[in-house]
């Protein structure tokens, strides 16, 4: 098995706020992330696909195709957007790294037809990231 990883970056704003909590609870639980007008990050997304290289092409999957999937599904949807208000898949969820990584997994998995999506790693900053795997898959 070969693991192939492609990286993209996007910039987006968000805020953490749960309407079921009081203003004080939101402030206590989410801290600065609760500031009402939001704030932004440069996100880095690493997408890892696992598979055997095709004997004819030598490829696990065509990187150009993966690049187009990432452009269409992720960049166009999330880059320079306010995640809370502009990304339908995050409606009703707090746009934490954990939740965004899961949304990205669910967007990408059905689109990848050669090889299998193995891991989505989303960095919110260089020191904070979330990984998403299929349960039972061996973590990289």
């Amino acid at each position: 098995m070969v693991y192939l990883t492609r990286k993209i970056e996007f910039s987006a704003s968000h805020l953490y706020h749960n309407p079921a909590f009081t203003a004080e609870e939101n402030q206590r639980i989410f801290g600065k992330c609760n500031n009402p007008h939001g704030h932004g990050h440069n996100y880095t997304l690493e997408v890892t696909v696992a598979g055997e290289p095709d004997p004819t092409t030598g490829m696990v999957l065509d990187l150009k195709e993966l690049k187009e999937i990432l452009e269409r599904e992720i960049t166009q949807r999330m880059d320079h957007r306010f995640l809370n208000y502009e990304v339908a898949e995050l409606k009703g969820q707090i746009p934490t790294c954990e939740n965004i990584a899961r949304v990205i997994w669910n967007l990408l998995e059905p689109r990848i037809r050669q090889g299998k999506l193995h891991r989505v790693r989303l960095y919110e900053t260089p020191d904070l990231f979330a990984d998403c795997y299929r349960n039972g898959a061996k973590p990289a």
Partner: protein
């Protein structure tokens, strides 16, 4: 569908510390041969990076596996405060008997952080320099 997925939260921390690699079980000549420069008697230091991964269910109310403020405070108390700007050999009791190689530092950090009550510790990675990294995920069962 989401239950089929496993989410881990990763976080990177830094500390600076000195150490000296020297085993009481080896002669002076053997120590010098095995550890080379790292055996110099007064020790030397590194800027260490600690990367940890924790897993758990994502609380729908907060979107989080664990609140970062809780995780950061725990790591600060258990690892950064006792290790940062310290001599690992002299100031951390665990390394009075164990040689503070980064393999052992990695395992020691894992032992300390696996007690974090709000998520499951999956893996500790310690980068001693930008060219040397060690990872430990607990004992295989």
């Amino acid at each position: 569908m989401t239950e089929a997925l496993k989410i881990e939260l990763g976080r990177r921390y830094r500390f600076a510390a000195s150490h000296r690699l020297h085993s009481e079980r080896l002669s002076d000549e053997e120590n010098a041969r095995v550890y080379g420069k790292c055996n110099n008697p007064f020790g030397h230091g590194h800027n260490y990076v600690v990367e940890i991964r924790v897993s758990g269910s994502v609380d729908p109310a907060t979107g989080m596996i664990a609140n970062l403020a809780d995780l950061d405070a725990f790591v600060e108390r258990e690892v950064l405060e006792p290790f940062d700007h310290k001599s690992l050999n002299e100031d951390v009791p665990a390394f009075r008997e164990k040689v503070p190689t980064t393999e052992n530092v990695c395992k020691e950090i894992f032992q300390r952080l696996k007690r974090f009550p709000k998520a499951r510790l999956e893996r500790v990675r310690v980068e001693e320099t930008s060219n040397n990294a060690f990872e430990y995920a607990g004992e295989e069962i």
